[in-house]
Amino acid sequence: MTLYRFGFKHESATELAKQAARAESMIGIHGVSVRSKASFPAPSAPRSEVEKHFSVYKTGKDPCHYTIELPKPVTDDVAETFNNLFRGF
């Protein structure tokens, strides 16, 4: 399975932490969204590669929506790993 993370810009640790905190308050998972389907070009990574670094959970009604759990705090190293997986930088 391929996971897509929309947006081509580098995501900072601060931005990722902000989204992860909101998700945690709602679904109890400190994480960010990805989808298993994208109609338009989007950065992507195989789920198997993502799971070498982070846990991935199926969340929500949308059959294509998944949440990647990020460690707390989201450090610059975590953000770098995340960006490397999806954007190669």
Partner: protein, 180 residues
């Protein structure tokens, strides 16, 4: 920042204002709601909403709002509350069930409730979590052919520039700055 809350019926009159949608059930989600149901705090009107577009950072999202009868809200809350407690203002049901059969039943019932929505009557731009409305416009019949869930769009689809439609710049850093 202006904290006045307008009714959903008067949204067209304002820009960058506190959202009247104080309760949102996010059935679609991507770092914020992308589809679901919303309730107006002022008049209690209920809408089905679908995301039509977003900016490159997903901070500004364009939605169509279709009215749906008030009992539909109660039915949806009751349906989902059997499996997890509501969390307001934005409830993103985790959609975890005891069996595949239960999941299929809830999926089907939720879809039936949403199928009762009328035609889209309002196009709005909001911030990521829907607590600020940036712009709004009543939709007319000719808009309907362009109203399609962004996630179901195909590259071959003729898409409308919803940002221009609402008088917004898609890459408007100045809009984002006002949301901080």
């Amino acid at each position: 920042m202006n904290q006045f809350i307008p009714c959903c019926q008067r949204l067209e009159t304002f820009s960058n204002i506190k959202s009247p949608f104080s309760k949102i059930i996010a059935l679609g989600f991507y770092d914020g709601p992308t589809s679901g149901m919303a309730q107006c705090e002022i008049c209690s009107a209920i809408y089905k909403f679908v995301m039509l577009d977003w900016d490159d950072s997903q901070d500004i999202r364009i939605f169509s709002l279709s009215p749906i009868a008030k009992p539909a809200w109660i039915r949806m809350v009751n349906l989902l509350s059997k499996h997890e407690s509501p969390k307001w203002p934005v409830w993103f049901p985790k959609w975890e069930f005891t069996s595949e059969a239960v999941r299929n039943h809830v999926d089907s019932e939720a879809d039936k409730i949403l199928a009762n929505a009328g035609r889209p009557e309002l196009i709005i731009a909001s911030n990521r979590y829907g607590d600020r409305i940036l712009a709004a416009k009543k939709s007319v019949c000719e808009d309907l052919k362009y109203v399609k869930d962004w996630f179901s769009l195909e590259p071959s689809d003729v898409a409308r520039d919803w940002f221009s439609y609402l008088g917004l710049a898609k890459h408007g850093e100045e809009i984002l700055a006002t949301l901080e």
